[in-house]
Symmetry: C2
Amino acid sequence: MNAPVPAAQLLPEVRLRNVPQALIDALKGRFGERCSTALAVREQHGRDESAYTTVPPPSAVVFAESTQDVADAVRLASQYEVPVIPFGVGSSLEGHLLAIQGGISIDVSRMNQVLAVNPEDLTVTVQPGVTRKQLNEEIKSTGLFFPIDPGADASLGGMSATRASGTNAVRYGTMRENVLGLEVVTASGEVIRTGTRAKKSSAGYDLTRLFVGSEGTLGVMTEITLKLYPLPEAISAAICSFPSIEAAVRTTIQIIQMGIPIARVELIDAHTVRMVNAYAKLGLRQEPMLLMEFHGSPAGVQEQAETVQEIAREHGGQAFEWAVTPEERTRLWTARHNAYFAAIQSKPGCRAISTDTCVPISRLADCLLDSVAEADASGIPYFLVGHVGDGNFHFGYLIDPAQPEEYAKAEELNHALVHRALKLGGTCTGEHGVGMHKMDFLREEAGAGAVDMMRTIKRALDPKNIMNPGKIFAL
Amino acid sequence: MNAPVPAAQLLPEVRLRNVPQALIDALKGRFGERCSTALAVREQHGRDESAYTTVPPPSAVVFAESTQDVADAVRLASQYEVPVIPFGVGSSLEGHLLAIQGGISIDVSRMNQVLAVNPEDLTVTVQPGVTRKQLNEEIKSTGLFFPIDPGADASLGGMSATRASGTNAVRYGTMRENVLGLEVVTASGEVIRTGTRAKKSSAGYDLTRLFVGSEGTLGVMTEITLKLYPLPEAISAAICSFPSIEAAVRTTIQIIQMGIPIARVELIDAHTVRMVNAYAKLGLRQEPMLLMEFHGSPAGVQEQAETVQEIAREHGGQAFEWAVTPEERTRLWTARHNAYFAAIQSKPGCRAISTDTCVPISRLADCLLDSVAEADASGIPYFLVGHVGDGNFHFGYLIDPAQPEEYAKAEELNHALVHRALKLGGTCTGEHGVGMHKMDFLREEAGAGAVDMMRTIKRALDPKNIMNPGKIFAL
């Protein structure tokens, strides 16, 4: 959906490794038509939603339909020391899917079965190609739901690999908290299991959480066991406008500090409200806005809502609008869901460069307000949305891909923002991952020693460096 | 507090490695009197609360007072390839602290400073020797608390190392969910940091959670950043008696499945009630009992309590007794807190062998009832308590240490219980860790492939195998 960006300023070093014809032949022999070398298929698997679009595509795409398929493909790749890149729906944002060292793509989108629903234990086991919306559709009749909702209808494999989160994380946690166990094909093609369905365990190293967030660099996930939650008895949503971003943020900080179990609290700035109004004719006040949602018993939801309304009023919040029915809620959340598309349409032909810092909640105002001032001064149009209850927010700088200086300015803004977030005790990525884009930031954030430790683990578990190499850290 | 058990049946292979006098001299040179080789000091550091008591003690104990102390001690040990065993308060249960391959103990109990309280972010950074009670005492004025409460007043370093939990985990999670970041001295004596104070992050491998639960085998934690929680506006506790363990367990299962955010739900069986009555003159009905606690707003607590009361009644629960004031609550919880001591006193000179399985909540009744039947049939007296909301419970088999056949019977019961739990999709250890006692169970639970992966990580991060060797897996 984004126009291409000139590659020159974007690319880290491309070091293509040899993909011998013998491997392609062996894959074709094993997988038949499920191993494709058609250019269109390869190109589709050689990009994601990141700004990197001109890395050469993988040499072949294997459409896996089972754990055995994945294991066989990885074993063959290992034999020839050829990189393997797992692919779900292609919605990652930091270059995770690109064949920066060449190799083959393993597409798991056909591994899309919900394998076991255990409503009485609030768990479900899925294949990695199941998307979050598909999962919630398939478990609807159980009265349970899976809360993690990144912007895209991502695959649960991809979400686990990037440690994704979204709007509900403030209440329900991220993929870190919600993956109970995994089946994984290791770099040698062996199949292992991590975790159990028990809610807690002290049984050895936490391999589950080592794989969650490892961005495909340690193995390919082939089964994922997740926590589910009872659908709340009552849900109530509200929007509230504020005289300033600061007032909206101060309201959020107080909500969190008081321990109110709010389910969602999302910030939309006035620019974005304007764009959304133009796009979806919502007629919202063109002021910074919080979108909130409360889950619980009817009385509990009402109590939370009243407390929050009081806090908001103290900070100048007004024009509270409430929604209780699903239809009303959908209308309110339209503003949030359409933010990206509305922004893109506001500047025809543009591309959005997204930031992803996350800071301790008390530093949110500092981090956000200075960054807004910088973005305003730059002249680059932007939209601003945020999972502010977690201290996480996204600027989308809207740049003209034909104007390299706009891209450079957006990157400068992002650099300044990341450095600010790190100085405030935060992280360069709250939920998108490191990929190729944030390797330098990671080193700055974690320190050379910690990144070296990651690299040591990678070398030990993947001595041929075939699992999605060149992501998270240089290797 | 426990009498010694004959070692012959208990011990895995002792393979003492050489501790050269040159290392002892170097440590004495660096630490002076803070390096002790007195037998009494070494013996105190060569055991924990496990059944293993006759492994030779470490050759020296270093009392570290700073990160630099730990780093220097580890560097010296690394130079001589001598094992290093971190020591907090010595309350671990599975042989974690024993110098099974010889070596030196690094006692971090003097590293007991609360370094930074950030009430506005609900975080705190502590040194590893701070105990959980000390922490809560020191942060009392902030209106916040740290909920994780294993039986002992353990050190936060030890709790992190074993991925501990306790009675509040059903609501607040375990150390897995509550450690945000660490400072760690690695096996080479380098100091690294993991995580940030941001609530979530997708920045690279989750080293924090790799160290949490690694039982000192990958490094020594020197700083720990933890999540804190606002003290609930209202707290209400209740006890309720049931006609059978099954009725109590079915009540628990339904509470969890309905998503009621209960803060504590602990089972005590009739044996234990009898022992506690005898010990503390509580006059409780000698029936299985649930102890519960509700946290929230006054209205929320009342709503939860009413729903739970209704569920309990449906399962035959009666004699609900409520406590709202801190004094009343303390009285009710006395039964739970005294269970261990009451049990030990019920059979003079006995020793308690504790189990620690955890199963998916729906399998809790199956797992528990069969194990109760087995324990009753064995003739070994026992007490039974459990964090049943998490599917986790502990039998304490009361054996006479002078009767090896009692120990053997207790171990048999534990074996049967663990196998049952694994078959039901559970884990061999919910919160105590693997140590030396559960290495075979771990292999059975996780599979050889996953344990090999743990071993590979250990070898990569600690090539000289000096960090608490011989724990979790054989190496």
